[in-house]
């Protein structure tokens, strides 16, 4: 270790941090495997991709800027309803639907960030929860717009790029979701490895020190909050377009809580944590779907307790510790 420190120049070291690791290439190659290995599970795979994108967006604020939000599904829901309403009223083109969903969610995210980013600790958790619940209540009462408990009907998604039809097997859906996930992942990766990303980590590590080095922390937090909201909106829009339904639980508290669990399970602040956690969570839930809901709650509860006590940095954190120990010995 000491030898390496002397030989590498500071630029080279920082550059090595931003390089693609072999494990990452394996991960994305493996993401294509459902087409060959699990062709009957492509719709589950696209749901996983949606949840992974949602968890990634949460990682940007929770894992990197330290903003603990239990109301992030609000933006997921806004994106879903935007894309759904757009399609219902005649415009079912998927990519433009995504763009508008991102815009809607991003604008609401930016607006609320002026309030949200000023708080930490319990007040922040309560405020984000409150906003989420408030929006869910609004959506419930505005049945004329959202379809209320029955959900949004009449969504029909046009062919992707005018050619790929969204079939029943989910082939187009998965390719679509995976492609969008990959592109936005690249975006998130770029953000994290930029000076702005470094500033976010500074905010997470020591918020009070930031003003003392001249950092406009609030402005930074608002920016990432808006970006995360937009990405969450895209995730919701993909769900709406690929399943051709939108219901109230797309912005409910359960969805907000679930995505936090997924992220923490995988490991926050590691970019891949949300992706890994989403995959494990969704696959597990699929296994449990035939069983009584009590069993699901029970095992999720046990999992949460176990992760907090034994794997505080999530699965990826645990793996990182293991590999560090192996490479040292």
């Amino acid at each position: 270790m000491a030898l390496a420190e002397k030989l590498i120049s500071p630029q080279a070291y920082l550059r090595s941090q931003t390089r693609w690791r072999p494990a990452e290439i394996v991960f994305w190659a493996a993401a294509l495997s459902p087409y060959f290995l699990f062709p009957n599970y492509l719709s589950l795979a696209s749901q996983i991709a949606v949840s992974a994108l949602f968890a990634l967006s949460l990682d940007l604020i929770l894992g990197y800027a330290g903003i603990v939000s239990l109301g992030h599904a609000a933006f997921f829901g806004i994106g879903a309803y935007t894309a759904g309403l757009l399609s219902k009223y005649g415009w079912g083109e998927p990519l433009s639907g995504l763009a508008l969903a991102a815009l809607a969610a991003g604008i609401v995210g930016y607006a609320t960030s002026f309030v949200i980013c000023r708080f930490r600790h319990l007040a922040l958790i309560m405020l984000t929860t409150g906003f989420g619940l408030l929006l869910a209540e609004l959506a419930n009462s505005a049945g004329w717009l959202t379809g209320g408990m029955d959900g949004l009907q009449g969504i029909h998604t046009w062919n992707l790029l005018g050619y790929f039809h969204f079939d029943l097997y989910g082939r187009t859906a998965y390719g679509y979701a995976l492609a969008v996930l990959f592109v936005l992942f690249l975006l998130a990766r770029r953000i994290i490895h930029s000076p702005f990303g470094l500033a976010l980590r500074g905010i997470r590590e020591n918020l009070t020190r930031m003003p003392a080095i001249g950092a406009p922390s609030l402005a930074h937090m608002r920016t990432i909050y808006a970006i995360a909201a937009a990405i969450a909106g895209v995730a919701g829009a993909i769900l709406a377009q690929t399943t051709e339904t939108v219901s109230l639980d797309s912005l409910g508290f359960e969805r907000s809580a679930e995505v936090v669990v997924m992220l923490v399970l995988g490991g926050a602040g590691r970019l891949y944590g949300g992706l890994v956690g989403a995959a494990i969570f969704m696959i597990a839930r699929d296994r449990f779907s035939g069983v009584e809901p009590q069993y699901w709650y029970f095992w999720i509860g046990i999992l949460l307790v176990a992760v907090v006590i034994f794997l505080p940095n999530g699965i990826l954190g645990g793996l990182a510790k293991l590999t560090a120990r192996w490479s040292r010995s």
Binding site: Y13, T18, S194, P195, L198, A199, R201, P211, I213, A215
Partner: protein, 259 residues
């Protein structure tokens, strides 16, 4: 008479009935090294918090280079060159030393607002960060996370962070606090090596540091400025003795002199 680097007029603050600052008036000419001493609870750190904007004063003015910064938020004061370090380390535990200093520089140069270019592309900022770390003998550990550094090295990193912002006025809150004797050599060298362009005010209890580095000393007691002068004047001032040693001893000193 040239404009002082930093000046306060009638600065006052109280928490309920507890007066922590009362009618504080200090004038720091450019480039001078000031020490701020006083017993515990005298309000020294409070004064720094007031000057840097972490606390809002009840009354009074703060002037940086003749500009009134009394209502300016803390990060803007840093941009104008008013920087502090902390008595208890306030660092970024999981960022490496290099990353921490680079962050400070990027914030200064506003590079921290860009998210589309990767960090290694910012050669100037990284080089500058590395130079600061070299000057503070932290280069060998620049790629280690802050939490793995020795305490003395962390204190040096505190100063490095402050220097990264290119301060005009530097407020050091007990820079040697908690640093064991073996590690304090680099720290003293760092403080001695501070550029003459920077006006420095440091809080210290360590009288050796005060005598070595300060050309003037301000004594604070109970939220007020008691007296100001050269280190020698302060050391022989009976009022200062009284404050530190108690009034009886001061009387004894007086009796000895006249008796």
């Amino acid at each position: 008479m040239s404009v002082p680097a930093l000046a306060t007029r009638g600065l006052a603050k109280k928490f309920g009935s507890l007066v922590v600052a009362s009618d504080i008036e200090i004038v720091l000419p450019k480039g001078v090294r000031y020490a701020l001493i006083g017993p515990n609870g005298a309000g020294k750190t409070t004064l720094i918090n007031l000057i840097t904007g972490m606390l809002r004063p009840d009354a009074g003015q703060i002037l940086l280079d003749d500009a009134d910064i009394t209502v300016l938020p803390p990060d803007q004061r840093v941009r104008r060159g008013l920087v502090r370090t902390y008595q208890i380390n306030s660092l970024f535990p999981y960022l490496t030393a290099l990353e921490s200093v680079t962050l400070a520089i990027c914030e200064r140069s506003r590079a921290a607002r860009t998210w589309w270019r990767q960090l290694p592309a910012y050669r100037h900022e990284i080089d500058e960060a590395y130079e600061i770390l070299v000057a503070l003998t932290l280069a060998p550990v620049c790629n280690r996370p802050t939490r793995e550094l020795a305490y003395g090295q962390q204190r040096l990193l505190e100063i490095a962070l402050a220097l990264a912002t290119r301060p005009k006025v530097l407020l050091l809150d007990e820079p040697a606090a908690g640093v064991p004797r073996e590690e304090s050599k680099e720290l003293f060298a760092a403080i001695a090596g501070l550029s003459q362009d920077i006006t420095v005010l440091f809080i210290e209890h360590d009288m050796e540091l005060v005598f070595r580095f300060a050309s003037r000393v301000i004594v604070m007691v109970g939220g007020r400025v008691l007296v100001e002068g050269t280190p020698h004047e302060i050391a022989t001032d009976p009022r200062v003795r009284a404050v530190y040693l108690g009034k009886a001893t001061a009387r004894t000193v007086r009796e000895q002199r006249h008796g």
